[in-house]
């Protein structure tokens, strides 16, 4: 998820810096900034973008655009008390979660602390930007699925930590940080606003994106659950062969959303949401299934050699530690990145098919 955001940032930067006839890069930054401010600050965004036309000189224009970016990232809150309350609440929740984890599952204390701080930080940012999204049915459903997915993912890791504490011991804390960042990213995507670049006359484009994402995530999740239940459990996991199913769901969703909303951006968002919600389901299913294995064995010469010097108290904790780390890195980081590419392709295909259909109709 971390790398997914990095990839998105690089793509966004490349898009901003692309040569076009719409003015220089500071002007494009100002235009983007104006659109990305919270709804109650949109007028200010237009004011700042208009003011850039008076700024001459390359360095001054860049300086002014950098200032606008700063305002976009940290707009002054309309209700500072609400932001302070969110920050304090998040801090208290983080302290409580860390204390509870330290008492019950000490190997996950660092993860609990980081997750608590990240979620508190996200709540603070959301409060400062006054996100007050209309609670439509698909928005609530997507949020509920994301929360359930995060809860299931955390519960699966906690179950492993309780049964085999050494399996979740993370001496470098790298995987604790990655896991917490991935879960926070999932929730931020699920609860964040849906951007729409399509025509204004399209009815409910944000809801359409959410419906598509929900359908894709539920379909792939149900398919994976069926396979997980019907397939004999091995220590290699049950869902490793289901990547094509996730890719197919993402492709279909991004193409369908792009075609129905007439917006490539909406298609990518729907595909990414499907991938992210599906990643949580896949992660929880895989670890839950692996925990059902009654006998863990070292299957390769590499593992046999590695286990001897690993310091793990049992083969089970060694195997499960490997699975947890692999699922965090592969399932929650690499999997969404791969499917993000698929979402771009699907959205392009959907938008292209739509244009083709429109041309044929008008011809």
């Amino acid at each position: 998820m971390v790398i997914t955001f990095a990839v998105l940032a690089v793509i966004g930067l490349a898009w901003l810096l692309r040569p076009t006839g719409d003015g220089d890069t500071p002007a494009r930054i100002a235009a983007v900034t104006a659109n990305r401010l919270p709804a109650h600050r949109q007028d200010w965004g237009r004011a700042m973008a208009a003011e850039l036309t008076q700024v001459s000189g390359r360095a001054r224009r860049w300086q002014f655009a950098a200032g606008l970016l700063r305002v976009m990232l940290f707009p002054p809150p309309r209700h500072p008390a609400r932001v302070l309350a969110a920050a304090l609440g998040g801090l208290l929740a983080a302290v409580g979660a860390t204390a509870a984890a330290a008492a019950e599952v000490p190997s996950l204390a660092v993860f609990a602390a980081i997750l608590g701080l990240l979620l508190g930080g996200y709540a603070t940012v959301a409060a400062s930007r006054s996100h007050r999204l209309r609670p439509t049915v698909p928005r609530v459903a997507v949020g509920a699925v994301a929360l359930a997915g995060v809860a299931a993912a955390v519960a699966a890791v906690v179950r492993i930590a309780v049964a085999y504490p050494a399996a979740t011991t993370d001496r470098t804390h790298v995987f604790s940080v990655l896991f917490a960042l991935a879960l926070t990213g999932c929730l931020a995507l699920a609860f964040g606003p849906v951007r729409h670049a399509g025509p204004a006359d399209t009815a409910g484009p944000a809801d359409t994106v959410l419906w598509w994402a929900l359908a894709g995530a539920l379909a792939s999740g149900a398919g994976w659950a069926a396979v997980a239940v019907t397939t004999p459990v091995t220590a290699d996991g049950t869902t490793s062969l289901l990547w094509p199913a996730g890719a197919a769901a993402t492709l279909a969703v991004s193409a369908g959303a792009a075609a129905t909303t007439r917006s490539r951006l909406s298609g990518v968002q729907a595909g990414l949401l499907t991938a992210v919600l599906g990643a949580l389901t896949r992660f929880a299913l895989d670890l839950t299934a692996i925990l059902q294995v009654h006998h863990y064995a070292l299957r390769s010469a590499y593992d046999i050699a590695g286990y001897a010097h690993s310091g793990y108290p049992s083969v089970a904790s060694y195997v499960l530690s490997d699975e947890v780390a692999g699922d965090i890195l592969g399932g929650l980081v690499l999997y969404p990145i791969a499917l993000l590419v698929v979402a771009f392709l699907g959205a392009a295909a959907g938008a292209g098919l739509r244009q083709l259909a429109v041309r044929r109709t008008s011809a």
């Binding site: 003011e51 036309t53 300086q63």
Partner: protein, 115 residues
């Protein structure tokens, strides 16, 4: 006596600049260059002042070909009162506006009391 919570030095500078010519509409970038404040600091200050009812905002009504309409700012009556009260409450070392007219009435008085 009305107690005024002391604003930041940059906010004070913006208030004083606007209070010097209270009837005149000002541009954001002009304020930036006049006071040496970056846009990233200036606009949040203007937003907060507007949120508190101290700043009046508007768009240019005359269309100038080749560029979009610009946003304009000036202090409201409450803003002028706040600026003079804040300047009076400032330490002697701080520069104070010289031509701030004392408003006869203070609208939205409760907002100015910081309570």
């Amino acid at each position: 006596m009305t107690r005024v919570r002391r604003p930041s030095a940059q906010t004070m500078a913006v208030l004083q600049a606007l209070a010097e010519r209270p009837d005149e509409w000002r541009y954001g970038y002009d304020l930036c260059t006049e006071l040496g404040i970056q846009a990233g600091s200036m606009y949040p200050i203007l937003m907060r002042l507007a949120d508190r009812g101290l700043l009046e905002t508007g768009w240019e009504t005359e269309r100038v070909p080749g560029r979009p309409a610009r946003h304009l700012y000036r202090l409201t009556g409450a803003g002028r009162a706040y600026a003079s009260a804040a300047a009076a409450a400032a330490p002697a070392t701080s520069p104070a506006p010289t031509t701030v007219p004392a408003p006869a009435t203070v609208p939205r008085r409760s907002r100015l009391q910081g309570t």
